[in-house]
């Protein structure tokens, strides 16, 4: 038996292993995928935005209050007492985030997490054929996992960023209205807010990544033959 066509010759007959694509390629495709489905992504993101905004506003409120108490200005102390806050140096010790607030923040983060898992799972189901097609074209499982991880990380990061801004604006505006300019005009309080902001950003991103692990795994596990199914 001798081959007649150029496409099947004995020299290129050996099966090789598929190469693993660099992250940048997955990044490129994931970015496009979010861009095209922007409306959908924003809805997914809104859960993170709200949860992180809530968290950030509570953190920022705490930071600003600590700063105001530390100022120990008689006029501000009077307003603080009117608002039911404790004043004086001993108050500084426990003027952090309160226990019930920690619970509230945790709950809101949990809701955001479940929201993203749900949205990503729907997105996977919706894109079964697309994923199957990619696998038929030679995509490795790891590539599909990366695609969904990146997409979800993007959503977590951008959502958290917007949430931080939203929460900070709310807290800062409200405290300025309550206590006037001294609330915000110190570098120390801004330094603290920056730290809190970075923390909230990290939390939001981690939620994004954590939420995509299960959906990404589900997507990668599907058989390429599913792409052939016409009845969907």
């Amino acid at each position: 038996m001798t081959p007649v066509s150029g496409s099947v010759s004995s020299s290129d007959n050996a099966i090789q292993k598929q190469i693993v694509l660099p992250w940048s390629k997955a990044l490129e495709i994931a970015y496009r995928s979010i861009y095209v489905r922007l409306g959908r992504s924003i809805i997914t993101m809104s859960g993170v935005i709200l949860a992180i905004a809530f968290m950030m506003s509570i953190l920022a409120n705490g930071a600003i209050l600590r700063h105001l108490v530390a100022l120990n200005d008689p006029q501000i102390n009077y307003v603080l007492q009117q608002e039911g806050e404790r004043t004086g140096t001993e108050a500084l010790v426990d003027q952090g985030v309160k226990q019930e607030q920690v619970w509230l923040i945790s709950l809101s983060l949990l809701v955001a997490l479940i929201g993203i898992v749900n949205a990503m799972l729907m997105s996977v189901t919706e894109r079964f054929r697309e994923i199957g097609t990619m696998k038929c074209l030679g995509a490795l499982d790891s590539f599909i996992v990366r695609l969904f991880l990146i997409e979800s990380t993007f959503q977590g990061l951008i959502g958290a960023g917007l949430g931080v801004v939203l929460g900070l604006l709310t807290a800062a505006t409200w405290k300025t209205i309550q206590y006037g300019c001294p609330a915000m005009n110190s570098p120390a309080v801004w330094g603290q807010l920056l730290l809190d902001g970075l923390f909230a950003l990290a939390v939001g991103t981690i939620i994004g990544v954590a939420a995509s692990i299960y959906p990404a795994y589900t997507a990668a596990r599907m058989a390429p033959v599913d792409a052939m199914r016409a009845d969907e």
Partner: protein, 247 residues
């Protein structure tokens, strides 16, 4: 040229597929042995439920047989790991689907470039080659259109270009004309035939579209999980005439 002098590109040995549905077992394939030669245009015909699709998926390395073996280029598909299977799908086989399956977030050009990206081709080379392929299927002016901006026939043309991206040995076409009208279906069939004749790529297509018969070198009729009969084109000509007459 006689069939015997050709290289075998796909070979199945007594392939069986058994599905378990609860306690009942369904035998979708009851032992199919078939050789598919390099450069031929083969149609697998059969009514739905005949096991045609199951067999087709086996041939394309998309499904594992319960019994028997499938060889693609003399390599037992069951022996391949995930990386080798992905490589096989990427380089050796081009897939065309009934539902076109153009990646919706990408333009025509990007869709054709995708298999080349998976194969590790540099972006610029991939872009040039993809543009050339799209030009060849008659979409040279629509490189940057998205699937929803194209008709079904145009999408299937993109799919043909995409299937040819890595110069595969085989193109697997699953009901390629199933979602197309008569005229567009004819055009896609002609296009596949052209690729077959000019590039020597083996075309394997599962279909119940009688239009396919006239271009096929061989037709394998599948019924009840067995090969009912295999017909050469020479034997088909007269029948095709009568069928087309009734259309």
């Amino acid at each position: 040229m006689s069939q015997d002098s050709r290289a075998t590109v796909v070979r199945t040995e007594n392939v069986k597929k058994i599905y378990r549905m609860g306690k009942a077992t369904v035998e979708a394939l009851r032992g199919i042995s078939l050789e598919i030669y390099a450069g031929e245009y083969l149609s697998i015909m059969g009514p739905s439920g005949s096991g045609k699709s199951t067999f087709f998926n086996m041939v394309g390395g998309l499904d594992h047989p319960s019994e028997g073996r499938v060889f693609i280029d003399e390599v037992d598909v069951a022996q391949l790991d995930a990386y080798e299977l992905a490589w096989l799908r990427c380089r050796k086989i081009g897939y065309i689907f009934q539902t076109f399956n153009i990646i919706p977030v990408m333009t025509a050009l990007e869709n054709v470039m995708l298999p080349m990206t998976f194969a590790g081709l540099a972006s610029d080379d991939a872009r040039d080659k993809a543009a050339g392929l799209l030009d060849r299927v008659g979409l040279g002016t629509r490189l940057h259109h998205r699937p929803f901006e194209m008709s079904g026939g145009q999408q299937q043309r993109v799919a043909v270009a995409r299937a040819m991206a890595n110069d595969p040995a085989i193109i697997l076409a699953d009901e390629p004309t199933g979602n197309l009208d008569l005229k567009t279906g004819h055009e896609i069939i002609a296009l596949l035939r052209e690729m077959n004749q000019q590039n020597g790529v083996t075309i394997i297509s599962a279909t119940h579209d009688m239009k396919m018969l006239s271009v096929s070198d061989r037709v394998v009729w599948v019924r009840d999980g067995c090969v009912d009969r295999v017909e050469l084109r020479e034997d088909l000509n007269i029948k095709v005439g009568s069928i087309e007459g009734t259309e």
